[in-house]
Symmetry: C2
Subunit: 114 residues, 2 copies
DNA sequence: TCTACAGTTCGATAATCCTGGAAACATCGG
DNA sequence: CCGATGTTTCCAGGATTATCGAACTGTAGA
């Protein structure tokens, strides 16, 4: 993940409304949610919702698809995984302090328990 | 890590200069670097450097100490670890997609090799 | 084709952030 | 005490981001 992409993803998440939006979509899973429902739950007017969700979409954090007359947004985990990997590799104190987490590659899928 | 703190940390990192600054300090380790050296390396004027480094400092990502007449800044990993943990817990698709990484708590320090 | 509905785009305003020079503050050496 | 050095604070500007109503686009059903 290159630097501009990292900055873009960080900026996309660095807003209370958008972070709440993204978490809502993660919790919801692959089915996603239509724009209107998201706007309702967040309590923001439609045009503001579009503004924020597009921000996440441009950063690649959220996917968009049309179903009938509604637009469904869903979390796209690839960029988030890339972001966390980048932060873990470049921004955790390697060797100096205890690292925060281990990239999934290193642990042979011994998780699913958390 | 609560939401405002998460947003603040994300916002602090969501700028090319500040991300470069933070990575420089991580690479440097606990010794840290004086403000002047950082400004030189980043190619920003002193007042701009202060602006950005204070931003990181307010977010708790960077510590400050005085040595003689210089102010030394060093990466403080606690907040970064907390940030990554928060993102991993709340923003990775639990169960839906392959997770990006495993919190260090779960792996009995089987690292130090990476 | 007309109407209703779901979202987006447009436009104007407000708020926030960024930049960098100049002045002020703090520390050290003489 | 004075000058030199390192850094911050202050300030003004410019740039970017956020908010939200109103108008527009696209889709579905009668």
């Amino acid at each position: 993940m290159d630097i501009p992409q990292t900055v873009q993803a960080l900026a996309a998440l660095a807003h209370e409304t958008r972070l709440a939006l993204y978490r809502m979509l993660v919790e919801r899973g692959p089915d996603g949610l239509p724009a209107g429902v998201i706007a309702d739950r967040l309590g923001v007017p439609p045009s503001s919702l579009t503004f924020h969700v597009q921000h996440l979409h441009r950063a690649g954090l959220v996917s968009q698809r049309r179903v009938g007359r509604q637009l469904i947004y869903a979390a796209d985990y690839a960029v988030m995984n890339g972001l966390i990997a980048t932060l873990t590799e470049n921004c955790c104190g390697r060797g100096t302090a205890q690292p925060c987490c281990v990239p999934a590659d290193l642990t042979q899928s011994t998780l699913q328990s958390a």
